[in-house]
Amino acid sequence: MSLDRRSIIKGAVGAATLPALGGLPYRSARAQAANTIRIGVLNDQSGLYRDISGPGSTHAVQMAVRESGITQRGINVEVVQADHQNRPDVGSTVARQWYDQNGIDVIVDVPTSSVALAVSTITREKNKLFINSGAATSDLTGSACSPNTIHWTYDTYMLAKGTGGAMVAAGGRTWFFITADYAFGHALERDTTAFVNAAGGRVLGGVRTPFPGTTDFSSFLQQAQRSRANVIGLANAGGDTINSIKQAAEFRITRGGTKLAGLLVFVTDVHSLGLEVAQGLVVTESFYWDLNDRTRAFTQRLGATPGNLRPSMVQAGCYSGVLHYLKAVADMGVAAAKASGAEAANRMKAMPTSDDAFGEGTVRPDGRKVHPAYLFEVKTPAESRGAWDYYKLVSTIPANEAFRPITEGGCSLVRS
């Protein structure tokens, strides 16, 4: 047998790159009907952000199409979806193919900041429209803002202000960060640090953890504990956050009074962790299914998302964004909406938004959708009255305070 080490390494490298080749979306190129709006949902269908976006986002977009009543006006809408695997190269390839060959007019969702920034650039180049719900980086409406991009659901500024601000206000003066070592983690740490410093707090240190691939956070948590900081800020997401919180409980990191601040925690993460472990966490979200009568009605109409989960704020944002877009299309006409993504964005900015998921809101000239943000505390097992009863509302951050002031983002679309 002549199996050598070299071929094993070759095989390993080949295996690691293989997924990039599969999974590209395809549609038979049909003659473009002039009165058909084509929506492409581009997100993570197979990795760690699948539950917060994934097929559930497509499900929500389809509901928005139904509820918009646009088909009754004789306008057709097609929805397609694809997996970007959290990779900018894959996301860019899909976006270009969709715009160039498949006649897609608008791309929706796109979690993972690095992919979102790439898709935003391509969308501007092609003068199409990009409604981002899943990505966090506040640069999308700051230094990297675009007339063709609207950032719908949340951003790192909102998270930092909500969770970061609340922890400092509650006496968390000294911080230690456990940060996922990539663009998103850095942005979240940067925005939170600004709030901590502004409130008179201090950052004592931090570790940057390799992403992806870190599964054991116990060593980083020990380092954080040893810094004697009041607050351990988790500037990470998805599986990283789940493992950090789970292992913090295992190692009793919080027994000396140290608090954990999960800067980006979704309701599906809490579901995965269980209340036993997650109780007491402070989280910031712009949508929670059980917030009020309108969100409950929305959730009931949506039904179970794939995987039998309740909708995340990202999925709700996809619904809300597409609903508003289709209102703009009905208002300006299909031909005009298809001809220029920037014009469609302008029309969306000119109209107030209203839907059951986020209530009333507006879209700012820099592309930032504004609505209130909510600070929640995760319930204890005793407080929870049933399945998915996870949050109690601590405070509401009004729409005009939840996001970075428009003049401070450095967006070129804003005239001072």
Binding site: M1, L3, R5, S7, I8, I9, G11, A12, A15, A16, L18, P19, S46, G47, L48, Y49, R50, D51, G54, D181, V207, R208, T209, P210, P212, G213, T214, T215, D216, S218, S219, F220, Q222, Q223, Q225, R226, G238, G239, I242, N243, K246, Q247, E250, F251, R252, R255, T268, D269, H271, S272, L273, G274, E276, V277, G307, L309
Partner: protein, 294 residues
């Protein structure tokens, strides 16, 4: 001098944590080494089989109410049986052709297993609470708290590794195995059922992965990606230790866990990369691996 002592004091818990993580590397790379040594198959499904072990333990608990201790035996048996079925129906057909087909096949199996789990259970992961009885093993050393469950992981993994090594190196069955690895035809001529041995070896290797999966279930989130996170590092461990070397894979597994643990203190950003740097250095200086025979 005091500074140095202080540094060492700081590093001690990290050394302990590193060795415990190394226990997972050792268990997984041991299974890979056993399979590779005997079948010459690079089992890329190993990570998925580890995941499957954790999921089977979770299913046993949440669907049937079967607890941790029975699961520690049952899950490896169930997943091992799945491995036997895979070997009989698919992998056995590939022994005569280029080994890269085996790699591709097992990689495909891994994607299918992970995809099915993701479709059924989502990507966020399930929870599996550590059994309460381990609280008795909790260690408290000043600031440093070591959960009893992690102590158990170290004990269980070391015992299984040692037992596997003893079976292969010191028993008659092990000697048949080693002989069949080198001269399958000759061993067959002595009346030993080599194909059956290969099937059972694959099953045993897979069961080792599943055992590691059950051990990991209470520590990590039981998610479809949990094995994929480990497997690339584990392949590096196997390459560093020397392909197919049983003792090599065990020692290297613990050693790399230790090195990673120390790197996590002094240069956290590099704690994943360090494994591959070591792999490159070993390949350049000792191409057969630390414990391999050229």
């Amino acid at each position: 001098m005091e500074d140095l002592l202080f540094e060492i004091q700081l590093a001690m818990p990290q050394v302990v944590l590193g060795v415990i993580n190394g226990a997972f590397y050792a268990l997984l790379s041991l299974g890979l080494a056993v399979i590779f040594g005997m079948l010459n198959v690079i089992n890329f499904a190993h990570g998925a089989q580890f995941t499957l072990g954790a999921f089977v333990a979770w299913m046993l608990l949440s669907w049937l109410g079967v607890g941790y201790w029975p699961a520690l035996i049952l899950a490896p048996l169930i997943v091992g049986a799945i491995g036997v079925a895979m070997e009989r129906t698919m992998i056995a057909r590939l022994y005569r052709i280029d080994h890269l087909y085996g790699l591709l096949l097992t990689f495909g199996c891994a994607l299918v297993i992970e995809g099915l789990l993701r479709n059924s259970f989502g990507s966020s992961g399930q929870r599996y609470a550590p059994p309460r009885e381990f609280a008795a093993l909790d260690l408290e050393l000043g600031d440093f708290f070591l959960p009893g469950y992690r102590v158990w992981v170290l004990i269980a993994a070391s015992t299984v590794c040692l037992a596997t090594w003893l079976i292969i190196e010191k028993t008659k069955v092990g000697s048949y195995l080693r002989a069949a690895t080198e001269r399958p035809q000759l061993v067959q001529a002595f009346g030993i059922n080599v194909p059956l041995m290969m099937t059972l070896t694959y099953g045993a290797g897979v069961a080792l992965a599943a055992f590691a999966g059950v051990l990991a279930a209470p520590i990590y989130s039981v998610s479809p990606a949990m094995g994929a996170n480990f497997i690339i590092t584990v392949f590096a461990v196997v390459v560093i230790g020397g392909m197919g070397s049983i003792a090599g894979s065990i020692v290297t597994g613990f050693m790399l866990g230790l090195i990673q643990g120390i790197t996590e203190v002094f240069w956290p950003e590099a704690s994943q990369t360090v494994v591959f740097v070591i792999m490159a250095v070993v390949l350049l200086t000792r191409p057969a691996g630390l414990f391999g025979r050229a």
